[in-house]
Every structure is written in C-alpha cells, then in structure tokens.
C-alpha cells in the first residue's frame, strides 16, 4: 500500500518537477541552495501527500506546498532582505548604471525580484506562471484585492527601474 503510494507520488513529482525547480530558481541564488531547497520541498510534499485528496489538481497543490516550504525556510534562515524597503533596493540596482538592451533590463528585473520579500516573491512567481488573481490569492492565502494591490505596487516599481 505504502509502496504503491510512493510510486504514484514519485511519478507525479517527476512529471511536475518543473514547478519545484522554478520555485527553487526564484528563491535561491546558487546550485547548492537550489538542490537543498528542492530536496526540502520534496520531503514536505511527500509528508503532505497522504492528505492530498485530489479535489484540486496535483500541480495546484504542489504550488501551494512548494511555496509554503520556501517561505518557511526563507523566514527561518532569516535570509529575508532585512525588511529592506523596495525603493532602496531599486535605487541601489538602478544606480549601478542603466542600459536599455533587453538583456540588461531582464537582469535588472531579476535582481529586483530576488530582493523582494518572501511573500512578494511568491506573488511575482505565480504571476510569471500565468496564474490569475483568484488562483494567486488561494495559493497564498491572501485576499484577491490584497494580491492585486501588492502586484500593482510591484509592477509600478519595476517600471521605474526600467524607465528612470
């Protein structure tokens, strides 16, 4: 029974592993941390799997568990940007020099996203994953209005880095 459960779980995870890799990509900066976070998320998914009843899609459930794990670890490790104000971060990034090539713009934006706090990062991540506000608010356990407000704020800030 347990072996069957394990087999199904590993199969599902193998098929949907991109989600976990992407969460790792947005929350970590190097390969070692990426691997560590991937393993931690896998364990948390495995622990929570018996409670997964299939009333949501496996991938939707994965988003929730993976993001919660990343957020928890991120908080525990106190690697959060010391409640740094987003504006100061953007100032730091944009003052390093502006270049309007798309590559440079992307670099700046990724750097800005990396500096976001744990929840905002999750928000951007879900947005990049093409999730609508209803899904974002459900996954993160915040209200839809709150998600919209936060997202607009992030968008506005990103615009200011690219068009100073």
């Amino acid at each position: 029974m347990k072996k069957e459960l394990e087999h199904t779980f590993v199969e599902l995870l193998e098929k949907n592993q991109n989600i976990v890799h992407k969460v790792c990509r947005i929350y970590t900066n190097d390969q070692d941390s990426h691997n560590d976070l991937f393993q931690e998320i896998t364990i948390q998914l495995w622990k929570a799997y018996p409670k997964f009843r299939g009333d949501s899609k496996f991938s939707t459930w994965m988003y929730r568990v993976a993001l919660n794990t990343a957020i928890t670890i991120y908080r525990k490790a106190k690697r959060a940007p010391k409640t740094q104000d987003f504006d100061s971060v953007l100032f730091k990034i944009s003052s390093t020099g502006y270049d309007d090539t798309e590559e440079q713009q992307l670099k700046l934006m990724y750097a800005a996203v990396k500096e976001l706090n744990d929840i905002d990062k999750a928000l951007v991540f879900l947005y990049l994953e093409d999730k609508d506000y209803r899904e974002i608010s459900e996954t993160l356990g915040i209200s839809e209005v709150n998600a919209r407000v936060k997202m607009n704020r992030i968008k506005k800030k990103l615009r200011t880095i690219l068009n100073p």
Binding site: V10, E11, H21, K22, T42, I43, Q105, M109, K155
Partner: protein, 205 residues
Amino acid sequence: MDELEILKKDWKRRENDLPHLKASEIYPMLLKKSSSIVKWIFIISLIELSISTFLNIYLTDDQFWLQVETIHLKTITVGIYIINYLITFVFIYCFYKNYRRISTTDSASMLMENILKTRKIVKYYIIYVLISTGITTMLFFIFSILYPPVGENSVEGINWFWLLLIGIAVTSILLGLIWIIYSLLYGILLRKLKRNYKELKRLEN
C-alpha cells in the same frame, strides 16, 4: 508592454534550461530518514559512552582498586580500560563519519552503499562489546577464584569443570542481557535502515 510581461516571456523561455531529475534520483530524497537514523546511531553511541564513563568513575573507587589488586589484575584492568576507550573512540569516529557521509549523499547507489557500511560497523561494534565483556567477565571470574581473599578456601580441591561451567553460564546470561539491550537500542534503527535499503534496491531494479 508591461515590464512584467517581458519578464514573463523570458521566464517561459528559460523553462527549457530547468534541470530534470529521474525518478531514481527523486527516490533517495524521500529516504532522507536514512540520514536521521544514522544521526541517532551516532547520538546513542555518545550517550552510551557518557553513561559508561560516568559509571566507571562512580564504581572504580579505592575499594574497587584494592579488590583488583588482591586478585592480581590491576595492571590488566588499567590496560583494558585504555584499550576499551581507544576502540570505543574509533567506533564513535566511524559513526560520525557515516553520518557526515550519508547526509551529503545524493545518489541512490551511494546511499545504498553507505547504509550497508553503517550496518556493518554497528554490527562490528556490538560484536566487539559482547566479546570484550565476555573476556573481561571470565578473566575477573577466574582470577577471583585463583586469588581468594586471605582466610578463605584456597584453590586446592576446587572442581574446575563445574567452576568453569558456572563461569560460562554467568557470562552467557550477562552477554544475553547486553545483547537484548543492544538489540533494542540499535536493532530498531538497523531494521529501519534495512527497510530503506530494500526500497532503494527495488527501485534500482
């Protein structure tokens, strides 16, 4: 165009560069429990050493050494203590090495190899404890009869056959008790490791 849309486009493009793990690589991650089992083996061995050191200090008072001297075993006892501590430290070091190795393992075959190694070392450790306790007990038993306290019966007229039989029986009971304790302490952990090993092997096949 929305800035985040540019980012989204790139994010999607970069999806192709994501690593892809095989099921056989994911499986060991579920077995992270192996590393916590090996950690417990290391912790238990440390607790065991602390308890035995405490008991040694507590029990080896002046009277003990006086008795040991009466049966002409003082030098041997000191020697046994030194050798015993040295060997125990070597085992504890091995347990620590196992723990370090197993917690950094990321391939199923390496994990299997490490599980086997850990099980082997724990078994050697238990065999060592049983043999050393057996030899020490028999040694003390024989010497306390060879050198009885002054005023008591001397060795003459002793039935060595029966005496040896009693000695072996007492030692066997003692070893049996130690074996039961160790089976409880390490046996459960070793069985769990064996189960993990079997799961890994099934997957490899």
